[in-house]
Amino acid sequence: MYRLVAILMVLLVSNVFAHGHQEQHDLGEEANSIKASGKIFHTDGLDVIRKMHPEFLNHKRDKTLREGVRTKEGSLKGCVNCHSTKDKKTNQYHPVNDQDQFCSTCHQQVSVSVDCFSCHRTTPRKGTK
Amino acid sequence: MNIRYEETQGRSLGFYALIAGLGVFILAALGAVLYMEHYGHYVTGMSNRIVWGMPHVFALFLIVAASGALNVASIASVFQKKLYKPLSRLSGLVALALLAGGLMVLVLDLGRPDRLIVAMTEYNFKSIFAWNIILYNGFFVIVAVYLWMMFERRMNKFTSKAGLAAFSWRLILTTGTGSIFGFLVARQAYDAVIMAPMFIIMSFAFGLAFFILILMASYKWTERPLGDAVVNRLGSLLGVFVAAVMYFVAVKHLGNLYLAENAGVENFILFDGGIYTQLFWYGQIILGGLIPMALIYHPALRGNRSTLGLASILILIGGVIQLYIIIVGGQAYPMEMFPGKEILEGYGGIAAYTPSLPEIMLGIGGIAVSLIAVTLLVKFLPFLPESLADEVADPHHKS
């Protein structure tokens, strides 16, 4: 019995480490090049954007949809445009919510579903005009 | 007169067969929901013209019937009729079960049922739908409290007050349900204040028909005595309610015929609407109205439980048909967008609707949920009097 409890404890603790461990995922094409150039896009710090991005997006969505404020700040289009990766063979963008793409890597880990992309476009803009 | 309530045994083969049978329908309904939600509503018969189809027919039928099923309890506690008192607990239970089934169907037909939480947190107080969400939730709470007052001996003295509250609430609730349609100014088929009282009368009839069937079935299957005093009284009441529904239907259609703006849709339903006209006359009026009244009032059939049961079933079938005509028929006929002009192209014409199997399964699943809830709860809580024989239910009954 104690042995089982011990195993369970180890599993639980290792789970915590698994969360702490920051696996280096592909940030997306533009994000990578910004990073390579040494510039910082999320000037408030990565912790802030990691933790607060749902609030930023929700705030922005209400501002834009209901009040017509169309600034670039906090725009979901911006996230998608920067954090998408291209398939090497086909030269097509992967949808940003596909498995192992930018949004999904974290969201899968913490099992929080993303509702944005049931309506929003998942790849950088295709010219409409 | 001392009424003893007792749980049903619920160990017989029949009981498990009933649970299993209803379970199959519920599973089929859940399968249908998964299918419709996975693919989207294109797999249903619904469209942008018939936006509410079969699920709404069943959902509103059950919700309307739910508030009506509470009437038996109200007659006992509000109007102090002793005969109905032993039936009060079951009445409250049937009301809650039917509402739960109806709401399940309504919610699972949403485009985004996963966002139900939004409907609970974002209220637009101008919306009759939003009022209804409050009214439905309130109904659960009030009827639950009412049942508690009935079950708990110390609380018995508050029963009539709780009953009055529940009765008032249910009248408001059905008014709200009827007003979903009554306030749709754009549509000639609906825009009428009479929708609210008509829905109330419909609820009386459908709710009582459900109640009679459940009462007779449960006493038969548990082999408990059920006297004629109770059954005959409920039967005559049902006849009155059906007559009242027919009266309201007549007034509604006559009133509508008088308005030139509504003449088109009235002619459609009453005379040249194909399937809708047939459903109206053969289904709603003859099958769901005239035949049940004959079965209830014909002297040779008085006190006959089989014919009362048949009448109740026909009233329920007629009720589903009536809601189908109101909901689907009302949408099928085009809106009058350009008075004095005829639309040649782009809009107009009778909208086609063929209910798909998943929609029907979802609707029937709602009924199954209501029935399974009743079946299980009478097993676990003492809802049913152990005897409703004449000398128990009505000692002064003269047979």
Binding site: T128 | V118, E122, N124
Partner: protein, 244 residues
Amino acid sequence: MSKTLNRRDFIKTSSATTVGVATIASGITLTSFAVNANENPVTKDKRWGMLVDTNKLTEVEIDGMVSACQQENGWGSEVHSTGDQKPTWVKKLKVQDKATGKITSLPLMCQHCEEPPCVDVCPTNASMKREDGIVLVDKHLCIGCRYCMMACPYDARSFVHEELTDQREHMPRGKGTVESCTLCVHKVDNGESPACVASVNSDAVIFGDLYDPKSNINQTLKKVQSAQIRADLDLNTGVRYSGI
């Protein structure tokens, strides 16, 4: 202080420069503002509207308006939806006067009512009207109950019956929610005209601020006879028609 400058002052001070670019030779009226105009919330000082002259507008032009809308907003290429299930943001109607037999063609879309029934009935506030009169569906809140479709007198709303991908970047659309003409709000906020208006090469359809006495639409509505569809409902629509 320039940030707190309210929109009306801003428009006043910049109107001199914008009027110059407002009217294009073709007769389409564009109201252009500087880029930072949409940093501020829209206000009640404006009411966007459209005037359709059915005597001038040809059937070909109406078809052009429909396809311009499809192109701009990405609807119409649904694969599974059939017949009445397909979304229709704008459609061509042909109506005939019962007495005279006169046939009129017109584009019908969301009429952007001042008192929109769809907004009244929506249980979750998803149907909404912006301060400047544009009626929209907030798809973040839409639960797909379709009550707004029951309430709309113009058959203007569509329910998305199937899963969609590859939406336009500026026009999110998705299965299980209701949608309708947005008056190309994304373009209007950038000072452009709606796609359907821009597609017509004459002054048969004009777009602008109904309240602005200097706007083409305001001045034209003062001159010509115009009507609202189902005016008896007293919804005060933003889309007006002349010639019906």
